[in-house]
Symmetry: C2
Subunit: 358 residues, 2 copies
């Protein structure tokens, strides 16, 4: 599989990220540009790039900062956005996505990054990396802009699975806590369980059950359980980790993104309305650019797959170089903090083997 080996890539002090270079909407050029951005910002980072060698090699040669830090693994196949996950699992062995996950499985890299089809990426990750002991359902966690001092909340699951029972939700809480500790440096994260009201008697029965389960782990796992939270708290300052099932979480983040997009459109319209407002937008240019930077979804690009033997970062399908670089930065941070080992230990420590059967 190794076509062009670069013996410098895997130096012991380097953080090696396995990158699926194909399958994103913007093509491999955007992915390679993203890698070069990251390489410029972090000289400890190195890449294993998976994809079509003939396309990738000339792209990589464009960037001086990728010299000696980028190994190409040839993979002829590409997983498209329309491919069904079940199909990819059966026939996708030659794909760049499969190959990228394989590097994590083999221990060459601690984290893989892909802009491809989410369903296929999750299915392949489950099959090739396997679930951690004590995890029944892996989850996808995202960082959502919030009023908290750290600027973001962790929310999970946002779409690994459309189901989650009380036990799954409790494990999502533990995984989310681990992510908040290692991804946001919070020593004692506050956890909220998403519901339609904050009163204890409200909501679905599995939520009441999950409430009690999470509460029971509060002491040993060093977090604060703030109880039920509502949709408005996802961007609020009441909790750092928002726990929900993948159906609700997926609808919630897409609703939030859509609302932010609509406000952006209306804001631009407002500034174009009159000569005076156009002048105002010039004067406020720096402030507005700072605002845009603050709420730019590309800056927090990356859903993280939690609960597997290895970490996979899913970048937006439409991510450009800036977005891909953000996903790589997140991957490097999680790799450096040995995040997955800590998460595995956390789940294992809170769940004695007999309890994993409940």
């Amino acid at each position: 599989m190794t076509a062009q080996t670069d013996h410098n890539t895997a130096k012991p002090d380097r953080t090696v990220i396995s990158v699926d270079a194909m399958g994103g909407d913007e093509g491999p050029a955007a992915v390679v540009a993203g890698c070069s951005l990251s390489a410029k910002l972090n000289n400890q980072i190195a890449f294993i790039l998976h994809g079509d060698q003939d396309q990738l090699t000339p792209l990589i040669d464009r960037y001086r900062e990728l010299r000696g830090r980028c190994e190409v693994r040839h993979a002829a196949g590409v997983v498209t956005m329309d491919d069904k996950p079940s199909q990819v699992v059966r026939t996708g062995k030659d794909s760049s996505m499969w190959s990228a996950i394989e590097s994590v499985r083999d221990g060459e890299a601690a984290v893989a990054v892909s802009c491809g089809n989410t369903g296929a990426l999750m299915a392949l990750s489950m099959i090739r990396l396997r679930k951690l002991p004590g995890v029944n359902r892996p989850a996808i966690a995202v960082l959502y802009p919030s009023a908290n001092p750290q600027g973001f909340n962790v929310m999970l699951d946002v779409g690994a699975d459309i189901r989650a029972d009380a036990d799954d939700l409790m494990r999502f809480a533990l995984m989310g806590i681990s992510y908040a500790r290692n991804g946001m440096d919070l020593s004692r994260p506050r956890v909220g369980l998403l519901n339609v009201g904050t009163e204890e008697h409200k909501g679905r029965s599995e939520l009441k059950e999950a409430y009690d389960l999470i509460k029971a782990h509060e002491g040993e796992a060093e977090f604060d359980f703030v109880g039920f939270v509502e949709g408005g708290d996802i961007s609020g300052d009441k909790a750092d980790v928002i726990v929900t099932d993948g159906f609700t979480g997926n609808v919630a983040i897409k609703t939030g993104e859509g609302t932010a997009r609509l406000i952006g459109i209306r804001l631009r319209e407002a500034f174009k309305y009159s000569p005076l407002s156009r002048l105002a937008s010039l004067l406020a240019y720096t402030s507005l650019r700072r605002l845009r930077h603050k709420i730019d979804p590309r800056r927090v690009n990356g859903g993280v797959f939690l609960g597997l033997n290895g970490t996979v970062v899913k970048s937006h399908g439409s991510a450009d170089a800036t977005g891909i670089s953000a996903a790589i930065k997140l991957a490097a941070q999680l790799s450096d903090s040995r995040f997955n080992d800590k998460l595995a230990a956390r789940v294992a420590a809170t769940l004695p083997s007999e309890e994993t059967q409940t």
Copy 2:
């Protein structure tokens, strides 16, 4: 019950709105101020105000435009935000909320407006007004700001119930269509069913079933079914009516509201950042005010309870006079269009009696 009767209130050409004057966070003064705002804007409107007579009479006397158009029905009890719905149903007979619904039940008013406890208001409405033939689960519909020409989408259910099966979702679609026709003057609304992806094979089993049921009614009920939509489409231009269960809908609108609030805070911070940006905010004042007006949640204040023998508009608990006036405007429009009769006919026409048993 009638304490101060004003024989002018119920003139035949007048639109009478039954208003629960108590139970909102801002107290009866805000409610009466809201009524006076509406009375100024619409001289066909009249009110039956329910609540403590000694508090209400002096408040009403402040406003010239309410003279001869406002009848007070004394009710000593107030339903608070913490009262449990089941309790209110048993012991709330003396409350202003109960009395407000009673005016709709008796046919004195076509629509009731309340800022009180949503759960209690829904429970009382169900008990006193009863469900329409063919409706198993009533729903709460809201208008959500969108990129559509009409500026809003109808979304339901946003929290009448946390459950909805395929059959309920299909009836939500029919009720939402009726609301979009009468509340937004759309002759052929486009309906979308909220899911985590737009592919037909995605999502929960009841959603696939609801998909087929809604599709089957497309011809006779004169709407376009656009199929599955995602969270981002709630504020988008793909559909006019978004159908979902009350749990998902409630989380979605609160997530959207929270995100909009956070962006507002960040925007104000951006304009305060430097002398230049402060000057810019002065120059853009009119444009920004126009923007605020466009996305002001108070302008679309009012969840509408659908599927009952009579219409109930739930205003935000924290609504001020502007918000309450918006809820009254919506109530008047629905009353004038004889909305509930049309909705009842629509549900009855599409659902022959044997089908209502499914």
